[in-house]
């Protein structure tokens, strides 16, 4: 705090809190998307700080693919109870049963894409006008051009060529009926910032992020955890490895990395010296070079 300067984590924190408060002030029915991953945990922590001593003026929304890690759901429920936060859960399973989206089949089947349908339905059902997400611009090329306040048309779609200019800290949340916004309060954070902040603030995270032994299968260079949702192909077999997860998503597409990091210091060291991006371990982004861009246009997170 010398010479009235904030360190970079405190400056990012101040910016994110400002954005979250803007959402609460400008919109009538905002929600904060929560997946149980580290980015949404940090975003939630920032929201708590933004409104303390009051409770959050909006609920959290979790789109449950039905393919979550057990540890993630347990962590989520404990966190909601401890903080007295309102949580809405909507299930991809329900969208599939209602015939709104077909289940993918085959050895690489995933509900990653299907969850967009459930998400858009949930936003409509809850009449949400702004959904905050934990997306970061450093994650992926298509995210690098995302605004803090990202406008979506009445079909929930993103038009990357026609984004609103975003200047200074003036966030334009005006919209027509039926349209909504996606807001990304931690846009300017990198993976390393998130980990450093978790250490700085001593934030609790799911055990999946720390080293543990688990049965996995190596497929196309990605280590996938054993689960009922993954069928082995010919020549593949489960094997025990010492791993941890750098990101947490669906069990069908979240890749593990071999690691013995059992503390935040170890994790930060590992991230700082890592030579592969965290999304590099996700099978959903490997599908094509423009995979994320395509999913985002459809209304993905």
């Amino acid at each position: 705090m010398k010479n009235f300067r904030l360190n970079h984590l405190r400056e990012l924190e101040a910016e994110s809190i400002y954005v979250i408060r803007e959402v609460a002030a400008q919109f009538e029915r905002p929600v904060m998307l929560f997946s149980g991953g580290k980015d949404s945990i940090v975003m939630f922590h920032l929201a708590i700080k933004a409104f303390y001593p009051a409770r959050l003026p909006f609920p959290l929304l979790h789109i449950d693919t039905g393919h979550n890690f057990r540890e993630t759901l347990e962590f989520r429920d404990a966190l909601m109870e401890r903080t007295g936060t309102r949580l809405e859960v909507r299930y991809v399973e329900d969208s599939i049963k209602a015939g709104k989206v077909a289940e993918e089949t085959g050895p690489n089947a995933s509900r990653n894409r299907a969850q967009t349908v459930t998400l858009l339905d949930a936003l409509e059902e809850l009449k949400v006008d702004a959904a905050m997400g934990g997306g970061r611009r450093d994650e992926e090329k298509a995210r690098a051009k995302e605004r803090f306040f990202s406008h979506r048309d009445e079909f929930g779609q993103w038009d990357p060529k026609n984004q609103r200019p975003e200047l200074w800290n003036l966030f334009n949340g005006r919209k027509n009926m039926g349209e909504h916004f996606r807001v990304f309060p931690i846009s300017n954070w990198t993976e390393l910032d998130v980990w450093q902040y978790i250490a700085l603030e001593n934030i609790d995270i799911p055990s999946l992020y720390y080293t543990h032994e688990r049965e996995v299968v190596e497929r196309d260079g990605v280590l996938l955890a054993k689960s009922p949702y993954i069928q082995l192909r010919e020549g593949e077999s489960w094997e025990k490895r010492i791993i941890r997860f750098r990101t947490i998503g669906d069990m069908t597409c979240t890749g593990a990395v071999e690691s013995r990091a059992d503390s935040l210091t170890d994790i930060i060291n590992e991230v700082a010296s890592s030579r592969i991006t965290e999304r590099g371990a996700r099978a959903d982004d490997k599908r094509s070079e423009a995979a994320m861009e395509d999913r985002k246009k459809e209304g993905y997170f």
């Binding site: 970079h8 408060r21 409104f51 051009k145």
Partner: protein, 425 residues
């Protein structure tokens, strides 16, 4: 990067935001690629992806520029169509690059990238020297009051690393810059392609004694980039828990736009003009003695006053201007030209009002800086001086004094799109 150093330094590391400007061929993407590559911010899988992409287009070398060309539409057309944000860190600082393209929509994009920047990097091709576009970029940097401007004279390898080429460009540029309001300006001879003076000191230019680009980015003094004098606290959100534990808590949440506030300070609330003292400055469970820009905090006051979003808390003896008639420089961002006499929605700090365009004073010829009082048509990418009248008074400072309370945006009420960026004179 040494992980241990990085780990130890995160308590002191600062954030520097910079924007890059240059035309299509002067090597801007290569320079950014070089900064990312030499600071080890490029990962193996990203490198793998651009190697494959380079091969597909039939390029001979790995094209570092592909790292910064984000969207598929752009990759196909080979141009960058929007502002893209890039990140890298050294043990001293974390950097956010707002990478803006140099083609047709340059003004709109550069203004966007420049609005939050501490520094601007302007690239000049050593073979071509100062061209019209260089001057436009310098003008925008000056208009947006970017505190530090760094002129990178690139492709020095193609002019045999000659000192006189560098000196001539510097002299020409300084002649032009005399007409501008740039506070801090630096010149560096570099070769982004070969890496001279970007991260590593060049061995080919002994005549240059100044810092490398990376050294400058790590060390340029940004401590006075924020206004630390005029305390301005736009109220963003009122926090009223009404809970058993905090039955009477009434906090005013916001981010200090500038200056400092301390517990016990005598303050005035605008527009009501009521005065009170600061009872506490809260940040989560901590009670701070003081707050400074750009901290996000929550203030409580000694007296019960009706305060809502859009109000501004300031010191009794240092007040902003309060007026409905405002004189500003406008940069137009939309294909649909500004309508004289037209009405627009306006956002300024946490205030949302409506306004009418009363008069176009002049339009600036961005190439000559001449003021045109004949042609007052303000279209896409045009910059002009205008007068507006707002439906309610705004509390503001001149943009030159305060980049937060001096800036505003205009919004088309029919489409809700942001169409103008205003800097109050």
């Amino acid at each position: 990067m040494d992980a241990q150093t990085l780990l130890q330094n995160y308590h002191t590391s600062e954030l520097l935001r910079f924007t890059t400007a240059g035309s299509v061929d002067d090597g801007k993407s290569t320079l950014i690629g070089r900064l990312l590559y030499d600071s080890k911010a490029i990962f193996e899988d990203q490198m793998e992806a651009i190697e494959q992409a380079s091969m597909r287009t039939g390029a001979e070398d790995v094209n570092l520029a592909l790292l910064t060309d984000g969207l598929r539409a752009e990759r196909e057309q080979g141009i960058t169509i929007d502002v893209a944000y890039r990140y890298f860190a050294t043990p001293k600082r974390k950097f956010i690059i707002a990478d803006t393209p140099g083609h047709v929509q340059y003004t709109r994009n550069m203004v966007t990238g420049a609005s939050t920047a501490n520094a601007a990097l302007i690239l000049v091709d050593a073979r071509h020297g100062v061209i019209e576009q260089t001057l436009r970029h310098a003008f925008i940097a000056s208009l947006l009051q970017i505190p530090h401007v760094i002129i990178c004279i690139n492709k020095m390898d193609l002019v045999d690393y000659k000192e006189d080429v560098f000196e001539e460009i510097r002299t020409t540029f300084m002649g032009f810059a005399a007409k501008l309001a740039i506070k801090d300006i630096h010149f560096i001879p570099i070769s982004a392609l070969k890496g001279d003076n970007v991260v590593r000191r060049s061995t080919k230019m002994d005549w240059y004694q100044g810092p490398t680009l990376m050294y400058l980015l790590e060390n340029v003094y940004i401590g006075s980039d924020n206004n630390h004098i005029d305390a301005r606290f736009p109220v963003q959100f009122v926090i009223r828990p009404q809970s058993a534990e905090f039955p009477d808590y009434r906090g005013y949440a916001g981010r200090l736009a500038s200056g400092t506030l301390r517990v016990g300070d005598e303050v005035v609330v605008l527009p009501s003009g009521f005065s009170s003292r600061i009872k506490s400055i809260d940040f989560y469970k901590e009670h701070q003695d003081m707050a400074f820009a750009p901290q996000s905090v929550t203030l409580t006051l000694k007296d019960d006053i009706d305060i809502s979003r859009g109000d501004m808390i300031v010191r009794a003896n240092n007040r902003p201007q309060v007026s409905q008639d405002i004189d500003l420089m406008i940069c137009w961002l939309n294909e649909k030209a500004m309508t004289p006499g037209g009405k627009y929605a306006l956002m300024h700090t946490t205030n949302a009002v409506r306004c009418m365009i009363k008069e176009v004073t002049y339009k600036i010829d961005i190439n000559t800086l001449d003021r045109n009082t004949e042609d007052k048509h303000i279209g896409m990418n045009d910059i002009g001086r205008i007068k507006i009248r707002t439906t309610k008074p705004l509390f503001f400072d001149s943009y030159r004094k305060n980049r937060v309370t001096g800036s505003l945006i205009l919004i088309d009420e029919a489409t809700n799109v942001t169409v103008g960026a205003g800097m109050i004179v």
